[in-house]
Amino acid sequence: MNVYPQEKEYYYSFSFLFELFVTFIKISPLTFGGGLAIIPHIESVMVEKKNWFVKDDIPRIVTIAQSTPGSIAINAAIYIGFSLRGLSGAVASMLGLLFPSALIVTLLTYLFLTYHDLAIIQEAFKGIRPAIVGLIFFAAFKIGRIALQDRLTVLVFISAIGLLAVLDTSPLFLIAGGILIGWISYTYRCKRR
């Protein structure tokens, strides 16, 4: 982190919290589509524009944002806020990121609930629903490309599909199992070395 001593007072001030909030309001519209796509934007703002982090900090931000449950963009905002200004910084960054989208979602929800029964909206949604299925398949494809890297991961993938289809196993159980398998295979690989 790039906190210069002469500026330290500013980092404890309320105006810095507000700056965090506004910075993430500006990043928010770039989170369309979600996922890792946001990282280059965050990098350019945090490293080049604001000088709050150095380039070497970015991989750690990505690792934490990815391994924490929840949206990657939100996790990155929380982590950045936390490391710069503690809990209040984390909340300010998170709220900044969510503020514009919450407004838009509220508006869309209102429009959707009001006009949902109009014939033309129903027709539009008859087109949108299959597209959303395509969107979800693409999300699976995108994660699958990173996930299925060797025989063990393919085996885990196939077993998870089987458990879901045949036994209707709870996703929470499968996720916990995934973590365990990851850790066990890691310890195993460490021992063999």
């Binding site: 979602v105 869309l108 929800t109 027709e123 949108i128 959303i132 969107l135 699976a140 996930a147």
Partner: protein, 177 residues
Amino acid sequence: MQSILLFIEFFKIGLFGFGGGYAMIPLMDRAVEKHEWLTPEQFADIVAVAGSAPGPIATNSALFIGYQTSGIGGAVIAGVSTLLPSLIIVFLLIKVIARYQNTSLLSSGMYGIHPVITALILFAGIRMGRQNGLFSLSVEYSQLIIMAAAFILLYKKVSPVWVVTLSGIAGILIYHF
């Protein structure tokens, strides 16, 4: 009671939503079905609206589902309880990593989680497709074409907002005229 139920369910979704926004959709799908908060069609529509707004799709859908079940209060509860686990876990991770200077426990955990997430999302897609009649014999081919076109457009890095907008226009063109 409803608000406690909302809090517990969305906290669980937030806690187990490894792998980002789309990974939380299968979890929400389950909760929504279990408590009969929405019909499968309504759920697909909400994902559509949430996906066409900026911001994380998971938080957007949480706000939406919360609002549908118990108004503004429900939206706030669902939103906060999905975010709370992220706040807590990031905080814990910062402490742990500061002490051990090692992220291999995280990356090895993700190595095992990622294939599970892939399966969950794929399965959620199949489920949603079946509920909307996409994989039955009586399917209208235009619907399958829209599904495939959406996939290809996303692969070509077209923004989901455009995909949703275009498919909406396609729906109006096909079914209105």
